[in-house]
Symmetry: C2
Subunit: 178 residues, 2 copies
DNA sequence: GGACGCATGTAAGAAGTTACATGATTTC
DNA sequence: GAAATCATGTAACTTCTTACATGCGTCC
């Protein structure tokens, strides 16, 4: 039985302990969304499918406050996650509307400059968002799992590289245009 | 009337002259696919929609060899393309299954190393593909449009950065594990 | 004559987003 | 008492990929 990528996101988010769908979504939004997003419309149906397949187990919880369902990895689920981790990675996609516009800017340096500025601004906003995440990840790092932090640093450093590239490209276009 | 991103890819590919759907697909595969892909299943229906909307015009051509339909930008289509170019860019997405796996590698440095090696290999393959494109783009550059080449260099340099990051991360994980 | 490239398309399905709907609890 | 947050879900829709179907022209 083939699982979707979202299924692995859900399984992975349960690796350190039980969580509800709502919590999974919150953690995704603070971490993996920068390279793999997931919406409620994916998470909740996926939780049901995974429970039906015996890879996770749901338990109603009404104790402290609101009623909710927390899910735990089963042994089968943990094995499925480990199996996926051990297979070579495949999906590597990048979609950049700014780059597409730049490609089509034809012989118009002014348009290209505006596109590069907009692209740089987008990367800077992403960078700011990643930096607010940084603090939250430090706790996990302290808990003996260094990889979320490593991945976050990839996000920050690659985005910094892209901001710097935009600056270089702007200078180059300005020089060429004058 | 809102156009899809694929519609702008098609319009953009007609900016320097008429082309058939098949040619558009071939050019996309040699250029924008690294940051914006398009399949036949998108291109052909999109050509019809754009022709219906009066943004492009199709003309049957049977002259030289096979029969085919080449499309030309209308004035309205060129205006629509310019309008899109002048609006700020929005979509900026990155999906990286390797990074997702690394995030979930928990406290297993061996798994993390294998994931990093696989990720590096993927980037190296992409780099090789981008470098074969490089030569083809030089002609366009010579023709007075420097931007496809600029975008290609972004692809090559950013991918090189990612390969280098994988090497650095592997060294770091190895050091930490020993 | 067969393989390959040119050329156009459709159908089915997967994946993902957005908006909507509902309601409880907690905090100010 | 209002607003924010917790919590779960569905429906409609868009987007995109993959596979299939067809047929002609050219090159070896």
């Amino acid at each position: 039985m083939e699982l979707s990528h979202t299924a692995y996101v859900v399984l992975g988010m349960l690796r350190h302990g039980p969580r509800s769908g709502y919590e999974i979504k919150a953690v995704v939004d603070k971490s993996t969304r920068f390279f793999w997003a997931a919406s409620y419309g994916q998470i909740y149906p996926e939780l049901k499918r995974l429970a039906d397949a015996g890879l996770i187990e749901g338990r109603g919880e009404a104790s402290g406050g609101r009623k909710r369902t927390v899910y735990t990895l089963t042994d089968a689920g943990r094995a499925k996650l480990a199996d996926w981790l051990s297979r070579g990675a495949e999906v590597l996609e990048y979609r950049d509307e700014g780059l597409l516009k730049l490609f089509f800017a034809a012989a118009d340096p002014d348009a290209a400059l505006a596109i590069l500025e907009a692209k740089q601004r987008l990367h800077e906003e992403k960078l700011a968002a990643l930096r607010t995440v940084e603090a939250a990840t430090l706790e996990i790092k302290a808990a003996g799992d260094p990889f979320p932090d490593l991945v976050l640093r990839y996000g920050i450093e690659s985005t910094e590289w892209m901001v710097a590239w935009c600056k270089r490209a702007r200078a180059e276009v300005e020089k060429g245009a004058s």
